[in-house]
Symmetry: C2
Subunit: 221 residues, 2 copies
């Protein structure tokens, strides 16, 4: 099928392991338009990674700048500390301070707007509810209801969010990434966003777990 | 009750008739924090109106800048023409070009983020499905499902959107505004955003209808 004939999709791309894997899965079937968010994240070096990943996938991208004029999350407020390994996969349990209120709802709402504008019927997001930090907006129920919202929110009511790795373990995601040719050395995961991954935050711990269990070496390290 | 003891609410404020009326209704019970959006609207003079309305209500406000890097609506794209009186209150009918894809979803997602951050449990929006232009994100069904989303989207799952004028006619809204002391002379409605209202766009026609049917003179004119 010709590139121009392919159905369009919007892919939320952070530059990390999960969203990069989702992009490489999605691009097999769809003509993907990546959305990258510059939202004041401490690990803003993930934006550079996201651009490289989009380029490696042969997809175009748009960067949306979001200025949260309110604070409340250690992921955007430099006066707060990023916790060490605070992950909690138990639903209803403690949610770590790296949670950004409403973040995925904001990201998805931009994706909906872009999808409707360009005529894409699918939105891909690398949400994961297996090896995750317990964020409410990463859970399957959230996406189920968001899709109900999309059936009334837009003109043609035909946009749907797809979460292909939501039930995958990090081990499985690493496997999928390798199978689909994700250049892991270009991705960025660490919340601290230093020169090298800290190895201690939720994001680093989860990534390391995935590579270890998959029996693979992380090419970023 | 002291001001400091009152429950907080986030109010989406455009500076027009509807949202200003909603603010003056909400502030009777809640300590209101207004959210104003600078989204490249042609009628950006409504932003100045919104600021004045917030000040007149004695409420603080935050302005969120949204850069749609995509086009598609005559309300933000100056290469397109604002249609004359294109309103269509028939659900399922033609939606005019002033429709901005995903706009209310984006606005509400920011409101959710702010509400969760400051501990507000209510979000007010001046959506109206009686005398309106047929936008999908102004319909009751949309808000019903958005509230379902909010029951899973946030940490405490306790935020709700309120739409106090969704079933009111423009005549009733004008009446409510007068009753609650809305300074209509400070509001702005016209989509064209010129020095004086054009009197011909959907927004002008609907506003004029409201004042006429309420038997009142529009103090802006």
């Amino acid at each position: 099928m010709k590139q121009t004939m392919r159905e369009k999709a919007v892919v939320l791309l952070s530059g990390g392991l999960d969203s990069s894997t989702v992009l490489f899965i999605a691009k097999k079937k769809y003509k993907c338009h990546c959305l990258i968010f510059d939202y004041g994240q401490r690990h803003r070096r993930e934006i550079a990674s996201a651009k490289k990943i989009a380029a490696a996938a042969g997809c175009d991208y748009r960067i949306v700048k979001i200025t949260f004029k309110w604070k409340g999350s250690s992921l955007i407020d430099k006066n707060k500390k990023i916790p060490f390994a605070a992950m909690n996969t138990k639903i209803g349990g403690h949610i770590p301070s790296t949670y950004v209120p409403g973040r995925n709802t904001i990201f998805l709402s931009y994706a909906v707007s872009l999808a409707e504008t360009i005529g894409a019927k699918k939105i891909f997001i690398g949400a994961n509810a297996m090896d995750f930090s317990g964020y409410p907006d990463c859970r399957p129920q959230y996406y189920k209801v968001f899709n109900k919202l999309l059936s009334v929110a837009t003109k043609n009511r035909n946009i749907r969010i797809l979460t292909p790795i939501i039930y995958k373990t990090k081990k499985e995601i690493v496997g999928l990434g390798i199978k689909n040719g994700v250049p892991f050395e270009l991705t960025w995961t660490c919340y601290r966003g230093g020169k090298i991954p800290c190895g201690k935050c939720d994001a680093c711990i989860l990534r390391a777990k995935g590579f270890k269990e998959a029996g693979m070496k992380d090419s970023l390290l």
